[in-house]
Symmetry: C2
């Protein structure tokens, strides 16, 4: 059963109605988000518990779906997006219907899981440099491969970590969801970056990196190719961004050197969070350019790390604004101290 | 110590950096959202535990801040927004600064709590008709009073219920946060409603009510003045909207008859959720017109009830889109059954 993308006529937001997952009230655990226990489908030896892998690093040349891998990417068992449509070429977003009230399109896309490590209990802040590089390399490989598919417009890479972060399995993993539409969040960033460029002639993100280094108090770590800092208008307490110094619209266009540097930086920032807090839930969200169009004049890819220490509740849902109980200057100092 | 509103230059989102609440890592409970236990500051007899009340129904003519009330509104003890600024008339949102990177303004506003009932354990689905009417009347009174303040542009009324819904105290309550800026969520709704009106000559919400009654399968309940239904593009499983049949931009402009009808409807929909699920966490979010400007030609106030059965995680944060595991047609049938 395939999912349907429906458009909210009051806000333009798209919702994947994932019918394959259709849930009656009794299917929801109210103390939900409890992580599944029992045999872990992501552990070595249990490869048969997942759909056939799409990529594995570490046992090249051997048969697929057996142990020996270091990073393994598999389709999500209950995908919200799928390429299995009878007429999957018909993925143009329809124009508004009779009343513009009921617009839908098949939820064409892919939904994959990046198993980061064969070790069940390892965390992002504990992985080796080599492991981190392999994870990033595997993700980039999927970006480069999937962008060739004309039906797809964006690949949302992200990590849900911990119960409060939305992870239903505890074995460390990231997720990849490719979708046929440009995310609203990215469209807004494109608009703001373009306005800034038009007004100043410069890149909003390049300027931010330069100013944050100059000011210093919100910086977490600076490397040859990246800056990690708590952004001035952090929406969440202890939020951290990793922004490349080189102006580049797309994550998948980073160089070999940048990849190695990013592997170190991402590990170090995750380690700060893990040391500052006991068992911190968080999300990592990739922000990168959509695949159709050229945004290179003004867009600049980056990563956002969002600790889930404060809830998104009525005020945030109603306004789209946030209340953050920890100033980013305070957060940055505490995170720097955690590893000193 | 007052809060500061900072503008995210990459998205235009505003964040209240609530310095009064400034939190170091050790101040966060990771199993957070745990509700406080001990003496309840919202129970009768504990009125001294809250700041002095701004409104109380049920003991008119008596001294304030003692028991005897049926609904009581008090300032939040740790407000994210406040009117206590030295120069509180200077609340114009500044133009972009030197680089447009660091824009801030005082977090001028109010932050109040509506204690819905003297009974600690009552729920929205258990309150009497009279209690529900009193709650709505009290909230409307604050809308009418606060909109006279030129510094304020919007009053976000909402309810956080349950740990997952963001309620830190278990005694049933709503919250009111008045802010000096129009919420992004509302601005988007205004834009979409205006586009629809320009294109069709009709109100998006009036048309939706008419079509949903005609289609029927997503309807939860219809009354003389309101329609409750699960919206076509429900972002969350078991999401329900309550929309007035009369075209009216502002919640605070409802008639006495409509208020009584809404009290019944809100009670009934909350009861459906409470019966369908065991101890369901949810948010109720008011959507109404901002106070400066006239949006009456196309905007239409309404309530959104958001059960928190699925998490907002990496995909939702990254894209602004949602994956909903329960089709609204399935949800509506299950909610109707819960009370049959």
């Amino acid at each position: 059963m395939v999912s349907e993308l429906r458009r909210d006529p009051t806000s333009g937001a798209w919702v994947a109605i994932a019918s394959a997952r259709s849930r009656r009230p009794s299917d929801f655990k109210i103390v939900h988000g409890e992580q599944k226990t029992g045999t872990c489908p992501f552990c070595p030896g249990n490869e048969h518990m997942t759909p056939p892998e799409v990529l594995a690093l570490g046992r090249e040349g051997q048969e697929p779906d057996v142990e020996g891998w270091q990073v393994r990417i598999v389709p999500n068992k209950f995908p919200a997006f799928s390429l299995d449509y009878e007429d999957s070429t018909d993925t143009d977003i329809p124009a508004d219907g009779e009343y513009g009230l009921y617009v839908s399109t098949p939820a064409v896309g892919i939904h994959e899981v990046v198993v980061e490590s064969p070790e069940h209990d390892s965390t992002l802040g504990e992985h080796s440099q080599k492991q981190m590089e392999d994870i990033l390399f595997a993700i980039i490989s999927r970006f480069r491969s999937l962008r060739e598919d004309d039906r797809l417009r964006y690949l949302q890479a992200f990590k849900n970590w911990g119960r409060e972060g939305g992870a239903s399995l505890s074995h460390t993993h990231c997720q990849l969801i490719a979708i046929p539409i440009v995310p609203k969040v990215i469209q807004v960033e494109l608009d703001y970056a373009k306005q800034y460029k038009d007004r100043t002639g410069k890149c909003l993100y390049c300027d931010t990196v330069e100013k944050e280094i100059e000011i210093g108090e919100r910086v977490l770590e600076e490397s040859q190719h990246f800056l990690a800092f708590c952004p001035y208008a952090s929406k969440f307490p202890y939020e951290a961004w990793i922004v490349p110094k080189r102006h580049n619209q797309a994550f998948e266009e980073i160089s070999r050197d940048e990849l190695a540097d990013l592997a170190t930086m991402l590990h170090n920032v995750a380690r700060m969070l893990e040391l500052a807090f006991d068992d911190v839930p968080y999300n990592i969200v990739w922000h990168t350019a959509p695949w159709k169009g050229d945004f290179s004049a003004y867009y600049h890819w980056h990563l956002e790390l969002i600790p889930r220490l404060a809830r998104i509740a009525g005020f945030e849902l109603g306004t789209g604004y946030y209340i953050n109980p920890t100033a980013p200057e305070v957060a940055a100092a505490a995170l720097r101290e955690s590893v000193s």
